[in-house]
């Protein structure tokens, strides 16, 4: 029994059980119908053949007995060999007929007794007449007359018996008719009972099957639609009363929903963090640009100072002090740039990891969506199986229809006695029609199921496209971050250069203040060094601009990401 209930949990199981139930109804009807037809027709055939045979024999018997008596009586007066020959032949014919009659195995006891009596009477009549003929032939005519009179008694009874058998045939045919009618009635009741039960079971099965497929499918399709529209909020589907295929599908869809929810939630958070980081990056870039500009201005001043130093060595000492102070400030600024570059580097690395994590999650989503697509394809195959089953039912009902038609023809052939069976045949035909209609309805339902399945498949395809779009965006973001990191490294290198140069400047200034006298030669060297610093500061400025552009691009990417995830309701 548990196997039966387990089978009831699947669409396949329900279809098989439904098919078995319908077949269990249709097959007995077909068997009973065919059985009744063959029994009735063979019974009719046998009975009629027997009745015909016995009645033919008994009428031939009556005719030959009359002939035997006539020629026997005739011989007593005519005494010619031809008449004797006719008597012998008639007597032989009567013997043969009686023997044939007695040889019929189906005779009832009364008929068999009559056949035996006919045998005895036949023998007596023949012997007594032949005895009379012998007496007549040897001239003992008065004895012959007495013997002939003695022969008439069995001869007369012989005629009577032959007639009795004929009369018995009428009674027998009536009895046979009644038996056939009773047999037909009995089978009619059985057929009607099976018919009613099958009709009830069939309707119940059709309704139950339709409900078991329709309701869960509606729920699943509804959820898929809402996913397609981007509503990812959890929607519990009642899986308890569903066929297991639907329960599996519902669970898969719920898992898809939950995965999507987690992922989209993650994406939203990531995009928020990414825009915040991009904002930070912009601010840092601006500061960096401002610092670079300050460096440039300072270096201009350094250059100017150096030139002025070359011109007026008198103010050299004080100017050298200012130069030393400026170089110190310059080195500090350069160190600040280096620190900010490292900070940006750190932030970018973090985002790179986050984006890699998002890409992995997207891969999982894609796998889940693929799995759901497989489930939908499975559903598609199932509906093809249902189509095959419906075709089978259609074929059975068309066969049954043909059978019922043949039955009706046979019933018509049987005449009045077949009228009961004709009703059965009509009922069987109507049942076949109802089966046909039920099959058509199932076909229509399956068509709807298929359309809805196709819609689910389409929704899945849209989901797949969206997921792959998000994948592209993430790849873009990763690429942008990589480029940004390269830029930051360049900035760091430049800042390092500035620091080195600033330190060199400071050392030179100290040297200048120590050997003021040799400033004239050193001033030229100093101016060259200051130009180098200016070039480095300008280079830093260009890098900072590039970084700002990249920060802007990142900001735009973060904005696009936000727009994408805004479509989802989590």
């Amino acid at each position: 029994m548990s196997g039966f209930f387990a089978a009831l949990n699947t669409i396949r199981g329900r279809i098989v059980i439904a098919g078995a139930a319908v077949a269990a109804g249709l097959i007995p009807i077909a068997v009973i119908g065919i059985g009744a037809l063959s029994t009735i027709s063979s019974t009719i055939g046998t009975e009629l053949a027997l009745l015909q045979r016995v009645s033919g024999l008994s009428s031939a018997l009556a005719a030959d007995v009359s002939d035997e008596i006539r020629s026997a009586e005739q011989y007593l007066t005519a005494r010619d060999p031809e008449t004797e020959q006719r008597f012998r032949e008639a007597a032989t014919a009567v013997y043969e007929l009686q023997r044939t009659l007695a040889g019929i195995a189906e005779l009832d006891p009364a008929e068999r007794r009559a056949a035996t009596r006919i045998g005895t009477l036949r023998a007596q009549a023949e012997v007594r007449y032949e005895y009379a003929h012998a007496l007549s032939d040897i001239g003992r005519t008065s004895e012959a007359a007495a013997a002939a009179a003695n022969a008439r008694e069995p001869a007369d009874r012989l005629v009577q018996e032959a007639r009795t058998i004929s009369a018995a045939q009428a009674v027998r045919s009536q009895a046979a008719g009644e038996r056939l009618a009773a047999a037909a009635d009995g089978r009619l009741q059985v057929v009607l009972a099976v018919l009613v039960v099958t009709a009830l079971i069939g309707s119940g099965i059709a309704v139950a099957l339709y409900r078991s497929i329709d309701r869960p499918l509606r729920q699943v399709v509804d959820v898929a639609h809402r996913f397609g529209e981007g509503d990812l909020r959890p929607m519990p589907i009642k899986t308890a009363a569903m066929p297991s295929e639907f329960a599996d599908l519902s669970l898969a869809i719920e898992r898809v929903g939950s995965q999507l929810r987690t992922m989209v939630g993650g994406l939203i958070a990531e995009s928020d963090r990414m825009s915040a980081a991009a904002g930070d990056l912009s601010a840092v870039s601006e500061q960096l640009a401002a610092s670079a500009s300050e460096v440039t201005t300072s270096m201009m001043e350094v250059t100017g100072g150096a030139e002025r130093q070359a011109a007026g060595l008198d103010r050299g000492m004080s100017q050298m002090e200012r130069l030393a102070a400026a170089a110190t400030a310059n080195a500090e600024l350069a160190r600040l740039v280096a620190r900010q570059g490292a900070e940006i580097h750190r932030l970018a690395a973090i985002h790179q990891r986050d984006i890699a994590g998002a890409a992995t999650t997207l891969g999982e989503v894609q796998a889940v969506v693929e799995h759901s697509a497989t489930q939908v394809e499975h559903l598609e195959r199932l509906s093809v199986a249902i189509d095959d089953f419906v075709d089978l039912i259609k074929r059975i009902s068309s066969q049954t229809n043909l059978l019922a038609l043949n039955a009706a023809i046979e019933a018509a052939r049987a005449g009045e006695r077949g009228s009961g069976f004709a009703v059965v045949a009509e009922e069987v035909r109507e049942l076949a029609d109802s089966s046909q209609q039920a099959a058509e309805e199932v076909t229509a339902t399956i068509r709807t199921v298929r359309q809805q399945t196709a819609e689910v498949a389409n929704t899945m395809a849209v989901g797949r496209t969206k997921v792959s779009g998000i994948g592209h965006v993430a790849t873009g973001a990763a690429k942008a971050l990589n480029q940004m990191l390269t830029g930051i490294q360049q900035i760091e290198q430049a800042a390092q250069g500035v620091t080195t140069e600033a330190e060199t400047t400071l050392a030179a200034a100290h040297e200048v203040s120590a050997v003021l006298r040799s400033v004239s030669e050193a001033a030229t060297q100093h101016a060259a060094a200051a130009e180098q610093v200016t070039a480095a500061a300008e280079e830093q400025g260009a890098s900072t601009e590039e970084m700002a552009a990249q920060a802007n691009e990142l900001s735009q990417v973060a904005e696009r990401l936000r727009k994408l995830v805004e479509g989802f309701t989590v």
Binding site: G103, A105, E126, E130
Partner: protein
Amino acid sequence: MSLASRLIVPVLLACGAFSAGCGGQRGDIRLGLAGPFAEPRGRSMRLAAELAVREINAAGGLRGRSLELVVLDDRADAVRAVSVARQLSDDPSVVAVIGHLTSGATLAASAVYNMGLHPVPMISPSASSPLLSGAGPYTFRICPTDRAHGTRLAQWAVDRLHAQRVAILFLNDEYGRGVRGVFAQQFTGRGGRLVADDPYLDELPSFEPYLERIRRRGGTDALLIAGTRPGAERILEALRTVGLRPAVLAGDGVAGIEATGLLAEGAFVSAAYLPDQPGQANAEFVRTYRAAYNGQEPDHRGAGAYDIVHLLARAIRAVGPDRAKLRDYLAGVGSATAAYDGVTGRIAFDAQGDVPGKKVVIGVARGGRLVSAEDRP
């Protein structure tokens, strides 16, 4: 009534009635014995069958069970034979029937033995009607048919008696007509002439008118009596009265007539078996029979019944006391299994339940006994 109950009820009834077939039952193994035992012609059949049963039981019975006969008298009457056959069929302890003796009774009873859910195998020792050939799968006989008797008698009339004119008196029943039909066909076919062909019944007031008519037609070389013993005795008496002395030929229906002594002296009688026919087994049987029954001689029905009981014993030893299995075994005697060499000769059944290999012998009444008239080999 439902289809199922229609099937189930008879099966249950059959199982209830045939507990021997369905369940198995210990006790005697019973064989039906049916014939006209109140008449002299039935006497030897019964005595020989009882002798065979005593022999088998004295040797330890069959499969540890003893053999028993259920003896029912059919009075050689077809209607009575049907009720006897029904009685035996309905008795589940009866596994086979020996009988019946006459063709008319056997034909009527055969239909009963072959019908129903549990048909019974029957073997007749002496029913020789051609109609019995292939009467049913459960019908067997171990004697040659009337056709064989008629043919053999016609050969004897032409080849040994050199008769040109033959008169026939036939019993107006199945048997008489059977022998007469074949004889007339064979005899006229070989150029012989029938001077008379007259029917009789035992009720006939006198045979003299028939015989007187034959005398007036110029007499006859031979007279064929195709009938049974009572009529034959009266015919032989009437021959003396009328003063005719033809060679007398008779079919096996008159068997036992030799006991009338002088009356039947010299009459040729066809037989499926004669007590003095050669054979070790036969000599032994005749000796035992004489010893058991005050020196009486067995006739062909007795020897046949004796063979049938022993053949059935062989079958029961081989396949057990089961009607259907016995039938199948019997059908294979002479084909699936070895032929049975009995006191009456070699028994091998054909598909019709006949023994076409069995020879008809002509005996002659000598000093109250029927002795073989055939040339000794």
